[in-house]
């Protein structure tokens, strides 16, 4: 092995270790955060017995789950039953490896170790385990494979509730994949690239301090967020595990660490979606109102890492916030929202944004990026008013509605 290859492997291994550790510890703390936020919103205090302010609660839960008895339903398909949690877990963990967690850091070293030989590395290192050039497409591809784990879990349990939960999860995740993909396209149009590094760079350049895509692409941002909730099976779209109808849905028959794997996968998916929202629409690790973070350096990497952490934490809190605000959707409402609202809106929006970008670049010849930004923001404000105020009057969610009359129950939808 050449010293350069060894250096690359060393850097990658360290990044892998750091990201994996942070993800797993973060997911553990996230379960605590979920319980704390849930408690606060109900005037309770939440877990506060294990460790200082309950900080060791995840450790206690982990020990409990590892020591707990593993149960198998007698009629379950053993092999698939064991495989399903792994299939849910692996894509969730994989996605953490391509997120850009902080600004690139210049790393230079050249040293020799006994037995192992010389290590050499000198590059501006992106703070992602794998800086894939296909970034966003990889996310869409891998996040869809997570549905195999859930579908198999529901199917192999040989339990009608599990099966229904698994079917619902599959239908839901496949449907919202479409809306999510459509919501991503405007970002890619505006960036001209699918790599996360380029998407983040496009949101910090153009001579404007505050060029996050959330303003010029607000509708896409909204659609992406809603699809993200559906993709992670979080409330108000948690039909796959609706306990009032399906006990616990696809993980009814799972206990101990196998259940824990589904749990970890769900929370890891939440982290991924939060990181995606942050990267695509909120400038990734970009610190607003300053250009200081664009020059590489250790301080910049640490500061932008903290910024990324703050943004992700906000979106995770947002997930929990919504959970305690909105009740669960009915199944036909979920499908109506996905296929009849988000998809047409997303399609029309892609066309509109593409036309606007073409107009700005080729007809109006706007060389000032601020003007282009203002044009797109103006379009979004008008569209937002149309969609959220004019059209959204009990019409979008409840299905059909008679003029001036009572709301009719949506029958046989989707």
């Amino acid at each position: 092995m050449t010293p350069e290859l060894k250096g690359f492997l060393l850097v990658s291994a360290v990044k892998l270790l750091v990201v994996f550790t942070i993800t797993l510890v973060g997911v553990a703390l996230l379960t605590l955060m979920e319980r704390k936020v849930s408690a606060w919103m109900q005037y309770r205090r939440g877990p506060n017995r294990v460790g200082f302010a309950g900080l060791l609660q995840p450790a206690a839960d982990g020990v409990k789950n590892i020591l707990k008895e593993e149960t198998f339903p007698g009629t379950a398909n053993r092999g698939l039953f064991m495989l399903a949690p792994t299939l849910a877990f692996i894509p969730a963990m994989t996605l953490g490896s391509i997120i850009h967690w902080a600004a690139p850091l210049p790393i230079n070293f050249d040293f020799t170790l006994p037995l192992l030989g010389r290590f050499a590395y000198s590059a501006l290192t992106t703070m992602a385990v794998a800086d894939l050039p296909i970034g966003m497409i990889f996310v869409l591809a891998v996040s869809s494979t997570g549905v195999y784990g859930i579908a198999l879990a529901g199917w192999s349990s040989n339990n009608k509730y599990s099966l229904l939960g698994g079917l619902r999860a599959t239908a839901q995740m496949v449907s919202y994949e479409v809306a999510m993909g459509l919501a991503v396209i405007p970002v890619l149009l505006l960036t001209g690239n699918v790599a996360f590094g380029e998407i983040i760079k496009a949101q910090q350049q153009n001579g404007i301090a505050f060029n996050w895509f959330v303003f010029p692409l607000f509708i896409a941002f909204h659609n992406f967020l809603v699809s993200g909730f559906a993709e992670t099976n979080r409330l108000p779209f948690d039909l796959p595990e609706a306990e009032s109808e399906l006990i616990a849905g696809y993980h009814t028959e799972y206990s101990a660490m196998k259940f824990s794997m589904f749990f970890i996968a769900e929370y890891a998916n939440m982290v991924t979606v939060s990181a995606m929202v942050t990267t695509l629409f909120l400038g990734g690790w970009d610190i607003p109102f300053t250009h200081w973070d664009e020059t590489p350096g250790l301080a910049q990497t640490l500061a932008t890492g903290a910024m990324m952490f703050l943004k992700i934490t906000f979106w995770l809190f947002f997930f929990m916030w919504i959970r305690w605000t909105l009740p669960r959707f009915r199944y036909d409402q979920l499908m109506t929202l996905g296929w009849k609202v988000l998809m047409p809106v997303g399609l029309a929006y892609v066309m509109l944004i593409a036309s606007a970008i073409y107009l700005a670049d080729n007809v109006l010849l706007l060389t000032n990026p601020l003007m282009k930004l203002l044009l797109l923001t103006g379009i979004n404000v008008a569209l937002g008013y149309l969609i959220f105020v004019v059209l959204d009057r009990g019409l979008l969610i409840t299905g059909t509605r008679k003029r001036g009359g009572a709301v009719e129950r949506a029958t046989g939808a989707a």
């Binding site: 959220f388 009990g394 009359g405």
Partner: protein
Amino acid sequence: MAIGVKVLRRPDRGVSYVRATLKGMAITFRKMLEPKVTMQYPEEKSAPEPERGGWTISPRWRGTHRMLTDEQGRSKCVACGLCPQICPANCIKLVPGEDEEGHRYPLIYEIDEFRCIFCGYCQEVCPEEAIHVGVHYENAEYSRDRFVYDLERLSSQAHPVSSLWDPMDPKGE
């Protein structure tokens, strides 16, 4: 429409899902910052403040029993046999004894707290005000037989005793 089915009128105009969601989020966020009502149980055992429910244990609470003693430390019980007679759960075991001077006293007095239904009749019927139900609720033990309280155990309890409900004074005034 089946009998007894209440049909809710749902709002049909002026309803916007997005604005309703934002309103709901504002409410949940505000509620999150409000003071918490949870009582930290083993550390605090009552929360008299009205904003936290004003919870204190009632003086009429009927918990595990207590036998009162006189100044010499002897139990006040004269083994009249009224309490095992009235006990609807049949949980009191009483073997009466008599000393040289003709005073009756209990040789064996045991209450099975597992069978007891905490009706408080024993306290009501007792002519000597000896047996009482206590204002007490922390009764955990490591074995089942520890729940048969003998005379010594009943006499050594120190918790307050119940002031049973008085029909002449229903509000406790």
